[in-house]
């Protein structure tokens, strides 16, 4: 559980910066930040499951 929370914190902090500096309007920034956050989380989970099966 701790590992997941650390990953979520990492994704959150990185997506804040990515979202804040991209796009033009606040709405677009918010959507982009959420999209980046979701990408970090999904890719992180997929990679962790792949690595789980590799001895």
């Amino acid at each position: 559980m701790r590992h997941f929370l650390v990953m979520a914190l990492f994704a959150g902090l990185a997506s804040i910066v990515f979202g804040a500096m991209a796009k033009d309007s606040t709405r677009e920034r918010l959507i982009y930040g959420l999209k980046v956050f979701a990408e970090f989380m999904v890719i992180g989970l997929v990679l962790s499951w792949i690595l789980y099966f590799i001895p």
Binding site: R2, V6, L9, F10, L13, V17, A20, M21
Partner: protein, 140 residues
């Protein structure tokens, strides 16, 4: 003729360079100087949180203290760590966060801490570029 006009260097005000330098030195300061308070809190705050969480998790900062040819491997992570500006410099001056002892390395969060510290610096480089672009009038 048209090509030559395109290739003409864009004039960048000196204040933009100073703002970029300030943004690097103290995370968030660049946007504070530009009176972008919300962006300063969000972007600068993310770097500060990332840095201190990294230290709290037992991560260590990189410098050139290794001996022999291995020192070259320390350069890329050190450049990433240096992105935190004064946070890195103060840590270096007080000698905190640079120890790479086995007890610290045995902690479950050791590698997470290293990653957070590296990313804090890299995110601040993005902050710096953003502050520079806003100060230069390239971004709203």
């Amino acid at each position: 003729m048209v090509k030559a006009e395109h290739m003409q260097a864009e004039e960048v005000p000196g204040t933009a360079w100073l703002t970029g330098l300030a943004a690097w030195f103290i995370p968030g300061l660049g946007h504070v100087l530009l009176k972008r308070w919300f962006r300063a809190i969000l972007m600068g705050g993310a770097v500060w949180v990332c840095f201190f969480v990294g230290l709290a998790m037992g991560g260590h900062l990189f410098d050139l203290s290794s001996e022999g040819s291995w020192v070259i491997l320390q350069v890329p992570p050190m450049i990433a760590n240096l992105g935190t500006g004064a946070l890195y410099i103060v840590s270096w001056l007080i000698g905190y966060g640079f120890a790479d002892d086995p007890v610290r390395a045995a902690r479950a969060t050791y590698e997470y801490g290293n990653t957070f510290l590296l990313i804090a610096g890299l995110l601040n480089y993005l902050n710096m570029l953003d502050a520079f672009d806003v100060a230069a009038g390239r971004k709203p």
